[in-house]
């Protein structure tokens, strides 16, 4: 046995493409620290910064009020552009407006597809959470799902609620469950409890790759016959897709979101480009299942998918 050290991760592919453009871009998200998903957004953004020779300043806070202060913080720092998530567009509108007033271009990514223009962002890169959920819902409905369980790992999160609402659009019988995403043991126990309480659950929909791994354990231990799908990917989850433990993943390609957000700012500054021509640029939903997992699996190990 014994694991070999991995090759150096993200950033090793084509470094230093753009020389030194001198730009500083701020990225502000509503990340709760420690999620593999956000890690990929950061990896993409960092790669873009490296490629365009600019500097990236990343900051995050799940509380909209604090996220808004962080945007203000970027404005105070006189950055050359701001990329932000718009999970709570109304709450961030003021801060985005103040960036505009300071002539700092703002692009949105990951969330806020319907409101980004309204808020004042120039472009949008990402998928639509509700749409992604709905697509997933429709796909499992076609596979015969009657009573899926949608697992929310952070109570009250707008994005997660939107995904579950989307799934419910696809399959009317969808039920939600709240778990404590910061504690794997607790996630397993809660899921186990739910699966034994309601034997009619035929699909489990997890909203993050780490939770999917816990769900596999829970399904196993409660001898449930429910099938599992998940949002997002990581190396282990990709392996489980290959092994057939996870039916498929709805991937919104976070690496691309981060990469495009920063690149678009660069192009906008440098060249006045407007990617998407006034329309949102969709990075997903893209399905990862047994049909394409072999191609994708190596990339997940690089932390780029």
């Amino acid at each position: 046995g014994g694991g070999a050290p991995e090759p150096a991760p993200a950033g090793s592919a084509g470094a230093g493409g753009g020389g030194n453009s001198g730009y500083t871009f701020a990225m502000v998200t509503h990340e709760t620290p420690g999620d593999t998903f956000w890690d990929k957004i950061k990896a993409g953004a960092q790669q873009a910064a490296t490629d365009t020779g600019s500097t990236l300043k990343y900051s995050n806070d799940p509380d909209p009020a604090k996220q808004s202060t962080l945007i203000q913080n970027a404005v105070d720092s006189k950055v050359d552009g701001i990329a932000t998530t718009l999970a709570t567009p109304d709450a961030l509108k003021g801060a985005v407006q103040s960036a505009k007033a300071a002539n700092i271009p703002v692009v949105a990514f990951n969330s806020g597809i319907d409101q980004y223009k309204d808020v004042g962002a120039l472009m949008y890169f990402g998928s639509d959470e509700t749409l992604a959920g709905q697509t997933a819902g429709q796909r499992i409905a076609a596979a015969g799902a009657k009573h899926p369980l949608c697992v929310i790992q952070a109570a009250g999160s707008v994005a997660l609620e939107a995904r579950c609402a989307g799934v419910k659009n696809g399959v009317a019988g969808t039920e939600n469950l709240q778990v404590n995403g910061a504690d794997d043991s607790s996630v397993v126990s809660s899921l186990q409890a739910k699966l034994s309480e309601d034997k009619s659950i035929d699909y489990v929909v997890t909203l993050g790759a780490p939770i999917a791994l816990d769900a596999i354990k829970a399904i196993d231990q409660s001898s449930s016959s429910a099938k599992l799908i998940t949002f997002d990917l990581n190396a282990e989850a990709a392996q489980d897709i290959k092994d057939g433990k996870i039916q498929f993943s709805i991937d919104q390609q976070p690496y691309v979101q981060g990469y495009l957000a920063i690149t678009s700012l660069y192009l906008n500054k440098k060249n006045g480009n407007d990617i998407g021509g006034g329309k949102p640029t969709l990075t997903g939903p893209s399905f990862v299942d047994s049909s394409n997992i072999d191609v994708i699996l190596p990339f997940t190990k690089n932390n780029t998918r």
Partner: protein, 354 residues
Amino acid sequence: MSQTVKTAPAGAPAEASNRVSLGLSNRLLARPEVGAAVAAIVILIFFLIMAPAFRSPASFFTVLYQASTIGIVAVGVGMLMIGGEFDLSAGVVPVSAGLVNAMFCYNLGVNLVVGAVLSLVFALLVGFLNGYLVMRTGIPSFLITLGTFFVLQGANLGVTKLVTGSVSTPNINQMDGYAFLHLVFASSFKLGPVTVWGTVIWWLLFVALSAYVLQRTRIGNWIYAVGGNAASARAVGVPVTRVKIGLFMATSFLGWFIGMHSLYNFNTLQAGNGVGNEFLYIIAAVVGGTLMTGGYGNAWGVAIGAFIFGMTSLCIVYAGWDPNWFKAFLGVMLLLAVLVNLYVKKLSTTRKVG
């Protein structure tokens, strides 16, 4: 021996007194907030060096704004802690209050001012309930308010889901009364390149009021007493129950205030928010020199604590440090602040006089 008593003119020492009179610098150093202030200055200078982006008035005022949103509730939490109690529900009360206001008015089409008053009543009720249960049952406030914290957190989500079908409130900025309330709770003005937020001014007002109450009024005396030794305070006639319930209500009031700010600043509220803020308030109070066990502390100290926390958390970003290490920096800064505070206090008690 009785002659000294009879002949001594009022105010003159009765005997060759070895009374100590402390020098100004010692008196100053002994004030509970001075340690925190020194710590704040040390960290301020540190970040002025480390974070060039912080060296503008605009940045400074952004920090002040951030500090004020923590600091306003921390004023109440600090007083409560001086009074010997905790309030873990202080983080979600603002959200609950905002939700009550927004949903009540939106769904019934009522003027927002009515909703604001209603939500104030609601918040005061929560505070009263916290205090009443703590005093009535004798269960530690940590547990009682943990209970209300969970209940409110659950209810915020449950009720919002029920009423709006989503986890956030609708946008209220088109409703009657919005302009007025926005002005009161969420206005800001430009001073050259600098945006000054109303909350900063409100914050200073609340701190000044709290400082006055604590130092200069009978109620302040009682607050220190119930926190320092509730049994003794009761024995000499301090109405312990009323004081503590009052403190819980004051905390809820300030929670309501900041809830109104969030609502009228952002026009919409997320039902899941606020969780975790209760600890920021406690941190601000403790960094500012408030004793966890009650009976000691000071309003300006708490304000400085909030400022230190706000400054540190934003300046790590201004300095552009690796966000993965954010919390680690924050932790080190906090420990630093507390150590400096302690060192200053030690200095004040070990310095000789004369």
